[in-house]
């Protein structure tokens, strides 16, 4: 309360009022519920024939704009690397008493950890058929490791294994792209595998492979982030 009633608070409110009024008057011109995007229409109309994936968001993420996805995975990698580099030299001063997790949390962790992992894997394996995909599945796997740190006291993610999975899946992504360049067509990450039958699990060419690699990479990345943040405060 004190900080909003200061001079600084009033100046910030005034400036933000100008910004929000500007944004609102511009946004009011955009009619809601009538998207006017030609590229979106193009993807909607040709997506099923081009890629064979019923989930069109997947066909944009892993097909049409796969190169952007590779760039975003690289950003994720750089952020995780920066985090562990920043925290690597951190020192602990206060040793804190750690309470043991309660029986409910321990048992729940033991039962639910494999189920959550299974659900994450389901999400990224079926990413081209149903809602879900590599990013969501990876995030679910990362939150499973968060549960391990809360509940199963003493268990740690092996940093070496996480690093190995992460670099192998990143390498696999680039390798698939280069293979597409060599075998399939004239561009990076082209879909060189047969499309298969619609609505089958093994269909849509390389999309399930790309999503499995992205899922493993995002999952191990987030597990590594949680691990390196929690490391010193153990």
């Amino acid at each position: 309360m004190r900080d909003i009633l200061s001079f600084r608070g009033f100046v910030a409110l005034f400036l933000l009022g100008i910004i929000v009024a500007g944004i609102s008057s511009a946004v009011g011109q955009i009619p809601f519920g009538q998207p006017d995007s030609e590229v979106g229409q193009l993807y909607l109309e040709n997506g099923l024939q081009d890629t064979g994936a019923p989930n069109l968001v997947t066909s944009v993420v892993a097909g049409y704009r796969a190169l952007d996805t590779l760039g975003e995975v690289v950003v994720l990698f750089v952020a995780a690397t920066g985090l562990s580099a920043v925290l690597a030299t951190s020192k602990r001063r206060v040793e804190r008493e750690l309470e043991d997790a309660s029986l409910v949390l321990k048992t729940g962790c033991r039962i639910f950890f494999p189920l959550i992992l299974l659900f994450g894997a389901y999400l990224f394996i079926h990413g081209h058929l149903t809602p879900g995909g590599g990013f969501q599945g990876g995030a679910v796997i990362g939150s499973a490791f968060l549960l391990v740190y809360l509940g199963c006291s003493g268990r740690r993610v092996s940093a070496d294994a996480a690093g190995a999975i992460e670099s192998l899946s990143g390498f696999g992504f680039v390798f698939l792209g280069l293979l597409g360049l060599l075998v399939g067509g004239s561009y990076f990450l082209s879909n060189f595998l047969p499309k298969g039958d619609l609505y089958e699990l093994i269909s849509a060419g390389i999309f399930p492979l790309i999503y499995i690699l992205i899922g493993l990479k995002v999952g191990s990345e987030f597990a590594g982030i949680v691990d390196s943040m929690i490391e010193e405060s153990k």
Partner: protein
């Protein structure tokens, strides 16, 4: 194909209630002195945003927001608060 909003369209009512709940949670972040409360309020913002994404026919995004915004980010904030200090002076 356009569907005009009828009077008392249930989806609009759900969306309105959710939006005001979300804005209320966001405003309450400003006033909490305990950072742990602020983190829980920010995860409430993410949870209501998940509902809105689902109403806007974006199930993929709703799933990502539910897994990341509600679970992972909250966990990371709690770890960071545990390593620093809990109360805002």
């Amino acid at each position: 194909m356009t569907i005009t909003a009828r009077k008392g369209d249930p989806m609009i009512i759900i969306a309105t209630v959710t939006v005001f709940f979300m804005l209320g949670a966001a405003v309450s972040i400003f006033f909490f002195k305990d950072l742990m409360n602020a983190v829980v309020a920010s995860s409430l913002v993410s949870l209501t945003a998940t509902v809105l994404f689902f109403l806007l026919q974006a199930p993929d995004v709703a799933m990502a927001e539910a897994a990341i915004g509600v679970a992972l980010v909250t966990g990371i904030f709690v770890i960071a608060i545990r390593r620093t200090e809990r109360f805002e002076k």
